[in-house]
Symmetry: C2
Subunit: 446 residues, 2 copies
Amino acid sequence: MNTNPSEFSSNRSTALLTDKYELTMLQAALADGSAERPSTFEVFSRRLPNERRYGVVAGTARVLKAIRDFVFTEEQLADLDFLDDRTLEYLRNYRFTGQVDGYREGEIYFPQSPLLTVRGTFAECVILETVILSIMNADSAVASAAARMVTAADGRPIIEMGSRRTHEYSAVTASRAAYLAGFSTTSNLEAAYRYGIPASGTSAHAWTLLHINDDGTPNEAAAFKAQVESLGVDTTLLVDTYDITQGVATAIEVAGPDLGGVRIDSGDLGVLARKVRKQLDDLNAHNTKIVVSSDLDEFAIAGLRGEPVDVFGVGTSVVTGSGAPTAGLVYKIVEVAGHPVAKRSRNKESYGGGKKAVRTHRKSGTAIEEIVYPFNAEAPDTGKLDTLSLTIPLMRDGEIVPGLPTLEDSRAYLAKQLVSLPWEGLALSRDEPVLHTRFVGFPPVA
Amino acid sequence: MNTNPSEFSSNRSTALLTDKYELTMLQAALADGSAERPSTFEVFSRRLPNERRYGVVAGTARVLKAIRDFVFTEEQLADLDFLDDRTLEYLRNYRFTGQVDGYREGEIYFPQSPLLTVRGTFAECVILETVILSIMNADSAVASAAARMVTAADGRPIIEMGSRRTHEYSAVTASRAAYLAGFSTTSNLEAAYRYGIPASGTSAHAWTLLHINDDGTPNEAAAFKAQVESLGVDTTLLVDTYDITQGVATAIEVAGPDLGGVRIDSGDLGVLARKVRKQLDDLNAHNTKIVVSSDLDEFAIAGLRGEPVDVFGVGTSVVTGSGAPTAGLVYKIVEVAGHPVAKRSRNKESYGGGKKAVRTHRKSGTAIEEIVYPFNAEAPDTGKLDTLSLTIPLMRDGEIVPGLPTLEDSRAYLAKQLVSLPWEGLALSRDEPVLHTRFVGFPPVA
């Protein structure tokens, strides 16, 4: 496993993963003296995409590293020739020295949940906008989709195998987000290396097609034999390159009834799974698992719940957020020098002021609502209700708070939180957010 | 501009941007002697997403660099403890030494167009699958969506400003793909640094909200004044933080009638653009441009074609491929030791054998069809038709062919090719691919 502290390379600054206007605003702010105003920025969503019932926070740990690595090299500064000297000098010395609080990675969220609160001078906070949002929007989109697939799979393992369907580095962090959400393994070796996620895989059609006789005719048995000899009888053979029934027969003939699994990657997966299960059982291969893949999403997985499928392989849909490739999170200034501020255009209203949140639960453990309250106020009195603090310290004076949850911790945390949702929250159909977010203690913005 | 030869860092190997099964197939192939079989792999699409009428090839130049950088470090090899010693030794010495041919970056394509043909031993070709597809699927998805937006904008410039809505590195390459497709500038500074794309930007609502009086009341004029003083009167002021009409009045009051532009980021953009244009003209600010943004996609842009909008700012929709975040390209083995091979499961049929393609045109310049023919055959006789060779050499014996098109070349090339499409090809509505791909000279696969 990679012990390199930085996200994608040892010498990788994140400082140019930034929109130009952030640096030009910085320049104007340094010039008019507003750069040093104490400011609070907040990451939140206005709505959940595709009328889903909850979202999953992901990317937080990556955001904290990206903030720490947000330092400008001389080579980068040389490229920023549209800035004046004062601004370049500011950037040369830039280190974020402020405070970050927010939801744990793996927390569930709803519209208006204050997912991340960044406090510092305007100057040091405003230039982090793009990199914070890029990471949280990408990772939360994948985790939110993946969590629904995990629910649909109802305990059966899911392999993440979508690397080829998304940007080469997006693939790596999508693996991470899917694992966070409960996927069991990934095909992506960089994700295994970087994050310690268990990797798995079967074989491709190319493997079977490679094995032809001298006259060019197929020799599926040779492909299966070589795979079993090299990888052991516990391997999974891909049986749908030619005829599936023949493929299954050949697989068991070659590997014997202790074959680990067969994969079906095309056709009507439910019908085929039943047919193949019967064939395997008739061949005494009762423990040979059936792995299915081929454009599966949460709905297709749910549709296969009653079929004899042992493992799901999911690609495109999970890495593209299953119809919602971005979480739609925004990073907005909510407080300046102690005053709440908010844009007042229609359709984009938001509450001013820094915020924290708690979630209340019934004695049964079922969540009731989120209560959002002013950042510097006491937590609201929730009586005898079981109350979970959703906002935790993440960064203090520019340093990542020690002892934050690991990826495994966050994965376990999410699994636990999902159980706390009212039952309708786990349904796949479109609806309103399953929990309401209630604001307590905020004066209305004038 | 960055002169670093590698894609995302000086010491960045692409070798683990790979699915595990590629390396286990490699191990089995080394064991049974099939690793050295001469093989041909092909990148193509089975269909165009969302019933679009054409696709745009993007990412080719990035793919070639990724192949060149596909070398394993000792640290990476140490993590691949599931492989046997022979396989690790093969990877330790791995350099791609084969041939790559394909469509130019910026070429338009259709289902079954042979976009990339990779020839070499099975071993050296099979392990490149994931990284090739990741890059081409991501970049082509963005370029294909962006090209439609450029058509819709009908000559008016489009700023790419979607970095915050996608993975932090996907943002950089999305900028590149959008620029390739005809976007005029990007907000992303890493894209400017890495690829020399012109960067631009306006300002955020946070900038206006930062400027409050001591009692917390808004002071939009102070924000505008500071921006104009720092960035010049040619800057673009964001006028919709509070009341737009007041915002425009304040903007011209502060900056005078030579103000570069105003940006509107919310509301009914068509209605507002007309209203603001009239207000600006009444204030004698005839040259002040109107920039609009706010969830624009190709359809929204087309809907604003009749309005007095000067510049479009596009974010989410372009970086997420406007409903098609992946191009759906596949990498399939098509030839082994001179024999065409193809999977024969239903719904996934493909022609065996390596391929090249030409496109024919009428005297008017309008394209007629693509003709695909066997890789080693003579180009088909197209009589007196103007005929464009679509397949060009990209890599020879593992080296990138010198003199390949630059990003600017590819951008100009695409603009020219789009003009050659039959007129219905540029319509935004769903339909069949506008050109047919005809196969000539292939024996039917048994």
